[in-house]
Symmetry: C2
Subunit: 207 residues, 2 copies
């Protein structure tokens, strides 16, 4: 299809499509003549991924470029490619005060990870996030217990979430599914949890 059709088909404005081409986020079409290039489904799929990373992942173009590079580098294992996108989604955490509290929090995170037999890299961003959250809870006088949350997350991810990722499909489709699922179902769970809290609060107080 022509670039104008690619724009219409994808719903991405023509100047934006041209910008992605210039930035190297979108691979060039097949040059048919000096004035015409042909685009296909791989371009449509790539535009879907860029839109997902930009609009849903809220990632800066620089991060998106890194992810696209990982998608295009066929020598990278799929898991590593997915990890590049996954880690880019992690919220910024201010580095915690080094000290015994931080060490204890890190050890607690390690116990949770080991307890579920999770295979995650030592520098996986959610480890530091969790340690940070545990410190925060303690500084506010809470006595945190991650166990039931880890249990719920483990079940949800194993039984439902990762089954929806097309690991055997095109690389960019897998990344898109991971990013959309992680961000949007994360927001959905948060809203569902608040609905359940309102209901349970009503139920308990009605007694």
């Amino acid at each position: 299809m022509r670039i104008s059709e690619l724009s219409a088909e994808s719903g991405v404005a023509l100047p934006t499509v041209k910008y992605y081409l210039r930035e190297g986020l979108l691979h060039p079409g097949e040059q048919r003549s000096a004035t015409r290039a042909d685009y296909d489904d791989t371009h449509l799929r790539r535009l879907r991924l860029i839109r997902a990373l930009l609009e849903v992942g809220k990632l800066p173009v620089a991060s998106i470029k890194k992810i696209i590079e990982a998608v295009d580098d066929e020598s990278l294992p799929v898991h590593t490619m997915l990890g590049t996108a996954h880690y880019a989604l992690a919220p910024e955490v201010a580095p915690a005060e080094p000290g015994d509290e931080l060490e204890a929090a890190r050890a607690e995170v390690d116990r949770v990870v080991a307890g579920h037999g999770w295979q995650v890299l030592p520098d996986a961003p959610p480890r530091a996030e969790l340690a940070e959250i545990l410190l925060r809870m303690r500084s506010l006088g809470m006595t945190p217990d991650l166990a039931p949350y880890a249990e719920a997350a483990d079940r949800l991810v194993r039984e439902v979430e990762m089954a929806t990722i097309p690991f055997d499909g095109p690389r960019d489709a897998a990344v898109e599914a991971l990013v959309l699922g992680t961000v949007l179902y994360g927001k959905a769970f948060d809203a569902l949890r608040r609905l359940a809290q309102e209901s349970e609060s009503a139920r308990r107080l009605a007694r």
Copy 2:
């Protein structure tokens, strides 16, 4: 205790304590003389709540004032008071395009709520959030299924979360527990879910 001791005990800077007093967020101490007032545990508890709403809930002072008013209005049922804080924590959602898609999304949210027998008000903010998220998912070509997420949220909230709210304790302590638990365990679950995803991705791709 004197205001200087209240500041030291609570870890809230003296000028900030005085600001909360002026704003009416913190109730006055007992006037002992022209130059001295006495403060007690109720002031410490109130400062903890303000800190929770401000630092963890990231709420503007105007919202905090509304919540404090609800805490102080003993004529308000505890559930209504908690709801005031709970609704204030809901993220802003841009109102969705009216139309058949929105109606369908709202109906789907109603089905989830009814399916779990949740008692939530028709205007509970998470309803609109969820409808918005469902529309978003569809516009991105996803076929959303909230069921397993609703199930996980329901179990977590009924079996664990609301059991930690001191409904029979002081009103501000209950609000503080709800706000801290909702926000911080929400972040914790999100990080735990990403750890489980990384692990499950490794496991499936190792096959």
